[in-house]
Subunit: 210 residues, 2 copies
Amino acid sequence: MSVTDVTLDPDVSGCHHYTRAMVRWEPGTAARLYEAALELFATRGFEQTTAAEIAAAVGVTERTFFRHFADKREVLFGGQRMLVEAFLAGVDAAPGDAAPLQVVASALRSAAEAFPDERRSHSRKRQTVIDRNPALQERERHKLAGLAATLGEALRARGVAEPAATLAAQSAMSVFGIAFAQWISAGEERSMGEIAADVLRELSVVTSAG
Amino acid sequence: MSVTDVTLDPDVSGCHHYTRAMVRWEPGTAARLYEAALELFATRGFEQTTAAEIAAAVGVTERTFFRHFADKREVLFGGQRMLVEAFLAGVDAAPGDAAPLQVVASALRSAAEAFPDERRSHSRKRQTVIDRNPALQERERHKLAGLAATLGEALRARGVAEPAATLAAQSAMSVFGIAFAQWISAGEERSMGEIAADVLRELSVVTSAG
DNA sequence: GTCTATAGTGCGATAGAC
DNA sequence: GTCTATCGCACTATAGAC
């Protein structure tokens, strides 16, 4: 039972060799960590992959991994910044006198451009990893909620009052989430833009008082 | 400090199936851990409070804490079960031929009953703790997302098709969240039920096409 | 009830870029 | 000299296994 044979000693190999003599670190470390993490998560599972393994796969230490990402989950969500910017660009593109729903429609059209058909396969792989782990689902919801908050802020900046701004922003996220799930579902061939527009129309029908 | 100002969720864990003769420790351990945790989180902060400290505050071991709650955050979210049941009861209370939006309205009325005015002060305190910690916000969103999924399932069971069922369920959660935030905001005196009804009406206005 | 692995932090040192 | 990315190491807390 004794586990005294723990050869945890991290530095038995002595000094670290830098094969590229003059270059201590390659650029794009975060991006390479993302690629390695997605690959390891997909094959081995999220829980079964340690931060140290991901780091080792790209030739850095565990400590460096945590300098790039606040926690292990975060490695999969760095790209969300582009999505936020796409939504905001869509808000800006809407005419100044557009109703909140029209602004949302414009934001969704802009966001959909970040999901061209070539990316569908990669998105499916990433989502498979997320769908298999509750902790990753939590983080995804957190990111989407942050995006909704940012969208709501942009609407208020255009003069939309509360609670309309928050309702419109959260409705946009619901539509986006449902459309994305449909976009990556098996056999689906319509573009993200087409699907999102359809779901948005359905929202109007469902919520119309009558 | 006193146990009398708590109208809190009795039986947080829902696992008290033994008879008095079998009781070796005080019953309601989960509920007392919840109280102690809320107090410590409020004064010291979530991160700065260890599970061992919460356990010590009610006279049990750290190991016991983790038998009651899967992780440290979970101690604040055990009571959500009642909320789920309130929503589902509201769905069941709606007439069989009601439109999705009417079913949602019924669910919101039922859920609002779980937030009587006497509880407003306690809800404010709990929310202050959650608002100060991202990890707790993530867990809250996870719980609410689970509730949305359950609601969507209940709607599909009534024959509502996709994506209408998911849209209606997520809209219900948006309305609930916005109404709750308003209910606990400073100076607010309207009941949760009144506020939720108003926000739901506003949703219809915002999402109406045209 | 004890023991262990993993997540995640704090800090001083180092190497290259500016 | 400063700035930034990195290493290396000691450390705590969580969570789960035995």
